[in-house]
């Protein structure tokens, strides 16, 4: 993976800077009295161009090192997840999905319900093999959001999304 790290990072940053630079065109420039050559586009243009330049340098560095054979594959050193249950192999994408579900649902379901669902599944996902305690996860998943909600809403007067909850 290390072998392609510079290549992938360089390419990703290159396209990110390209996207940024293209969008600078949509920024309206103030041309009225007091306007100078340095406008709302100038600094983003400098920053985007510098980022693109750095990504090109990284890609060139990759090319030179690859030709010299300077990259050593470290794939053998990585801990293999083969043979682990699907839940563990897919822990990162599942966590990402849970986070996305959380942000999409919190407005409709409210803080308490969304947090209960999130906490329960997140605890299960992060539990090591053989250490999944479903009842305990369920208790924490229910108690923690309820306490947080009560403390913030009623004690500290910080409003949290109520959603479909009646209180």
């Amino acid at each position: 993976m290390r072998k392609y790290k510079d290549l992938i990072t360089g390419l990703a940053v290159f396209f990110l800077s390209l996207f940024y630079l293209i969008n600078i065109r949509s920024v309206r420039v103030f041309t009225g009295a007091g306007a100078t050559a340095i406008n709302a586009r100038t600094i983003p243009l400098i920053e985007g161009s510098l980022l693109m330049l750095l990504s090109v340098i990284m890609l060139i560095r990759y090319g030179i090192n690859a030709r010299r054979g300077g990259y050593v594959s470290e794939s053998g050193k990585e801990d293999s997840l083969d043979g682990q249950p699907l839940r563990i192999r897919m822990a990162v994408p599942l966590t990402l999905c849970l986070l996305l579900i959380y942000v999409l649902a919190i407005g409709r379901l409210g803080f308490v319900l969304t947090s209960i669902i999130y906490l329960f599944f997140q605890i299960i996902i992060l539990s090591p093999n053989g250490k999944i305690r479903v009842p305990f996860a369920a208790v924490i998943a229910v108690i923690a959001p309820v306490i947080i909600y009560l403390v913030f809403v009623y004690l500290l007067n910080v409003p949290l999304p109520r959603g479909i909850m009646p209180f």
Binding site: K5, R28, N39, S55, V103
Partner: protein, 499 residues
């Protein structure tokens, strides 16, 4: 007035109790990622309306001190900075905790937070009017040069892979350009979304980069054997460090305290930058810079001294000029107004007793912070004994509360998750996080002052020559950059030869 102010605080047990309460609440706010000192001060401001000015302001100052210091707890124990001020504490605090030296890291962090705050108070007491006059000399040219100087530290912060460090800093600066532009309020990168007009919140970036990436990291490691850092009783000797260690840190403390107070005095920069600046300075000055980031106490000393010394510094322009340096001091300015205390050059004549009461409240607040945090060390460390699968999801939910509570927008929660995904990808690509935070804070400071300076230059092209402080900053930046680049090239040549 001195006696009146000090006796109003020291002589009133209720005020002392309120300060201890304020510090304790502040520590909780600081320690929970997502909740900040500013939020604590805002929440408790209405409570002070019915109090006397001295009691009310003492409570808010106590919240400020506790909130700034509390961030070190989660930075060291969870690698998630509780506040932006404690970002640099993670660099060496977390590795120390992973080595099994969490009590030492916490002890050092707490003690240097205490003496850092006291240093800031002493500077404030002795030099407030003089220092405020120097701060007022800082205009667009000086701020612009200072931002360039601070940004140049990215190169020193990143060490070997300068390209990745610079990339990360530029990504931070680019994220900060979203929203309304300075000076002409042109909409930039808002993609037609009205919520984007106010740009991204620092808190959302911080939570995304540190908290979400931490939980994704835990998800990645779930199949690997977990190292249990703490089992059984926590042993702490004295303050957590030896006399020799204290002696070895005297110069680091003095440099960091001076940097922290100096940065605090200048509006709009804040404790996060102060911590990183001090860390970089101490690292560069050190005889063993290569050990930084692996768990040396120097890093914790630099960060915690500096961010707490910032408090005294930030109160100098607030009290003597009526200029708030950040969100917390802006709320404090409002509190002073509510209590009929007019901040500004005449504050010593009109409300001298309140000013001295603030000094006294800061001293008691620092002592309260020291006592409460030391008393709590054993409890804090027990957090490490909680299995990750329970601890991190609950912390994550608290982070979402903080992101939402900051300005009551669901949009900030969406951004938090977005930045978390970005952080995950950045970590895969080997891009460091601290330069992103530095770029995000300093980018807007640089741009707004650069554009203001350009307006002066449009009128008089030689206007910059009348700003010796700015010229000095630029010269120092160029010299330091040249020295560092030379050092990096030398080291890489050495490494190549060794291979």
């Amino acid at each position: 007035m001195f006696i009146e102010g000090f006796s109003a605080v020291f002589g009133n047990p209720m005020t002392v109790v309120l300060i201890f309460f304020g510090v304790a609440v502040g520590i909780v706010f600081g320690a929970i990622p997502g909740l900040t000192a500013t939020m604590a001060v805002v929440m408790f401001l209405p409570l002070t309306y019915t109090m006397s000015p001295i009691m009310g302001i003492a409570l808010l100052i106590a919240l400020y001190i506790g909130g700034t210091s509390g961030g070190l707890i989660s930075a060291i124990l969870l690698n998630i900075p509780g506040t932006p001020s404690s970002v640099a504490t993670c660099f060496d605090g977390r590795p120390l905790a992973l080595k099994g030296e969490a009590p030492k890291a916490l002890g050092i962090g707490i003690f240097y937070s205490f003496i850092g705050t006291i240093f800031g108070v002493i500077v404030m007491m002795l030099l407030a009017p003089i220092v405020a006059n120097i701060a007022i000399m800082f205009g667009p040219f000086e701020y612009c040069a200072l931002a360039i100087f601070s940004l140049s530290l990215v190169i020193m912060l990143t060490g070997k892979d300068m390209i990745r460090g610079l990339m990360a800093a530029l990504i931070g600066m680019m994220l900060a350009t979203a929203g309304l532009a300075p000076i002409d309020s042109a909409r930039r990168f808002t993609f037609g979304n009205a919520q984007m007009n106010s740009g991204f919140q620092l808190l959302a970036v911080l939570i995304g980069l540190y908290a979400i990436s931490e939980i994704l990291g835990a998800a990645e490691d779930v199949g690997k054997p977990q190292a249990q850092i703490y089992k059984g009783k926590v042993k702490i000797k004295g303050l957590g460090f030896s006399m020799n260690e204290f002696r070895s840190q005297i110069s680091n403390f003095l440099y960091s305290a001076a940097i922290g107070t100096g940065i605090g005095i200048l509006p709009g920069i804040g404790g996060g930058t102060a911590g990183m600046l001090s860390y970089t300075f101490v690292k560069n000055k050190s005889k063993y810079p290569e050990k930084f980031g692996t768990g040396v106490i120097d890093g914790v000393v630099a960060s915690e001294t500096s961010n707490n010394a910032c408090i005294g510094g930030a109160l100098i322009p607030l009290l003597t000029l009526g200029i708030p340096g950040d969100g917390t001091t802006a709320v404090l300015l409002g509190a002073l107004m509510v209590h009929n205390v007019a901040a500004g050059p005449l504050i010593f004549q009109k409300n001298g007793a309140v000013v001295y009461a603030i000094y006294a409240a800061m001293i008691i607040g620092s002592i309260a912070m020291l006592v409460i945090e030391y008393a709590g060390i054993r409890g804090f460390i027990k957090v490490l004994a909680i299995p990750k699968q329970f601890l991190l999801p609950v912390v994550m939910v608290l982070c979402f509360v903080g992101a939402f509570g900051n300005s009551n927008r669901l949009f900030d929660i969406y951004c938090t998750v977005g930045f978390g995904i970005l952080a995950f990808l950045m970590r895969k690509g080997g891009l460091p996080f601290p330069p992103v935070i530095l770029g995000f804070i300093l980018g807007p400071l640089f741009e707004s002052n650069f554009r203001r300076a350009s307006q002066f230059i449009a009128i008089d092209p030689m206007a910059w020559t009348a700003h010796p402080i700015a010229i000095a900053f630029i010269v120092i930046t160029v010299v330091l950059l040249a020295l560092n680049i030379r050092k990096i090239i030398k080291n890489s040549k050495k490494e190549e030869k060794a291979v």
